[in-house]
Amino acid sequence: MMNKHEAVRAILDGQGADRIPVMMNIGSLSFVRYGYDMFEVMTNPEKFVDAICGTQEELGFDGLLAGLMVAQLGDVAGHLPRPDGEISGDGQDTIRSVEDLEKLKPFDLDACMNLQGILANIALMKERAPEEPLYVIILPPAGEALNAMGARFAFKNMVKRPELFRAVAEYFEDMQYQLSKCLWEAGVDFLWFPEPNFGGACISRRAYEKCISESNIRFFNRLRNEGIRFVLHTCGPYDDRFDLVLKESAYAWHISDTQTKKVKEEYGDKISLMGNIPSVRIMLEASEQEVYDFAYQECMDAAYDGRFILSGDCDLPPQTPDENIRAAVRAARDAEKVLFGE
């Protein structure tokens, strides 16, 4: 049987694994479980690793979240004011024009505290759990653009001035690329890019094509060219635009708000999948048996070719019962036996 690193690599490379990794997004759940607040874990690698590794060991799923790369916007735009005149601190809602981009500070990898913290997490995790695959959450440039412009202003200009949105996304491309490269070189198994604002719950297919596609294709191609493996999380309804997302050359899609079987049938020969147990409706609210049944069916629908990672469709809520997480793991192990033998 492949080890966990080999399995994840085989899945992302489209070759197929002989096991079904169960990788849950359990950041907040772990921090709450260990009594840490967000500030504590973001500034203290020992606490971060303690919570994430401890939860993984207790519940038996695979893989470890090594960090959330979220504060770099504050490094370059934190000194700028929001529209109400207050200095933002986090850089969100600060960019209103192409001229505003000239006011940004140059990005400095060495001075990025968020990055340095994650690098420390990675080193600690490799020591404590060398067998576990690691991943880091980081936004694509278009996601950074949306934060920098503020969601309302960004959405407005996807209609009124799409060229402004595209210019801001392009500006942040180098920063996200440098960070991605650095994290990859530190030894993560993959980067995980969420796109919660670009699905059918928020923007049209036309707006996606006009404002997001070009940036994603360019950025993700750069990562591909460096051999950096990544999973794209199509967060929200993407059924009407999976064909566009396919052009973005992801190694796998982490899907939500759709039917795994349907996506597998339509795109399974072209892309590996991750997902798609509803985090609230099933993982939080359903019974242990219902979780098992749902998770088992997901595996049977999508893992027959060895190209599937079982996961929730979103972060697991902190109150998710332990027995439900264990049931999902058990379902994957049982499905493995059926699909790949003992």
């Binding site: 950041g27 907040s28 407005k156 609210e285 109150q319």
Partner: protein
């Protein structure tokens, strides 16, 4: 232009997201001495209603609704200033995104649409501590609805904290509680003791009106 023609233009400019042109036609409407309240209801709200229908049909999305609402508010401010007396509302709501969550687009859409139903909305903003919701209800006896949203599975429990806080203060029965947001479900809403879950802003508008009717 005739009144009907101007009302149609107000509606069309909202629907077509023309936030500059609408100001010119609004001024023309006011200068002609037509009823500002009628301009809001028959012109602006009608345009927003049409935009909402397009949203339901999957033709308009969040960016389009934001642009429509910007056009509506640009005109509404002018019409409200031209009104002789104060506007009448069918109810009062307090709205906000719960603590830890800064995703406020959905909340803003709900605010826009329930305002168009004639409900006064006090907006607490985003990342709102439970205590702020509770204090607002405690200090404002005319509040009918508490509307909360969360886009993250990790911040949803904040809604339950608000409801528990209202119960502890003995003011839960004074208000109806509505919840929404991408990860929220009807089951979750029921479990935390909310009165209503709606899955989108359009449903929120009709749901808010229904709750107010139940309270009357």
């Amino acid at each position: 232009m005739q009144k009907e023609e101007l009302l149609q233009k107000l509606s069309d400019y909202v629907f077509d997201m023309e936030d500059e042109e609408i100001c010119e036609v609004t001024q023309e409407y006011i200068d002609a001495g037509f009823d500002p309240q009628e301009g809001i209801l028959e012109g602006l709200v009608d345009g927003m209603r049409r935009a909402s229908e397009m949203y339901e049909q999957g033709e308009y999305f969040v960016p389009e609704l934001i642009n429509c609402s910007d056009a509506m508010y640009a005109s509404m401010e002018m019409l409200q200033n031209a009104m002789p007396g104060s506007q009448e509302y069918i109810g009062k709501a307090v709205i906000g995104v719960v603590q830890g969550d800064t995703h406020d687009i959905g909340k803003n859409l709900v605010k826009i649409l329930i305002e168009t139903a004639g409900i006064y909305v006090h907006d607490l903003g985003r990342d709102v501590p439970a205590s702020d919701f509770i204090a607002y209800v405690r200090d404002n006896e005319d509040v009918d609805l508490v509307c909360m949203s969360s886009l993250m599975t990790t911040t949803m429990p904040g809604m339950e904290a608000v409801i528990k806080g209202l119960e502890e203060e003995g003011i839960r029965d004074r208000v109806k509680v509505m919840v929404g947001g991408a990860p929220v479900s009807a089951g979750f809403a029921k479990r935390i003791g909310a009165d209503l879950y709606t899955s989108n802003a359009i449903e929120a508008k009709s749901g808010a009106v229904s709750l107010l009717e139940q309270m009357r």
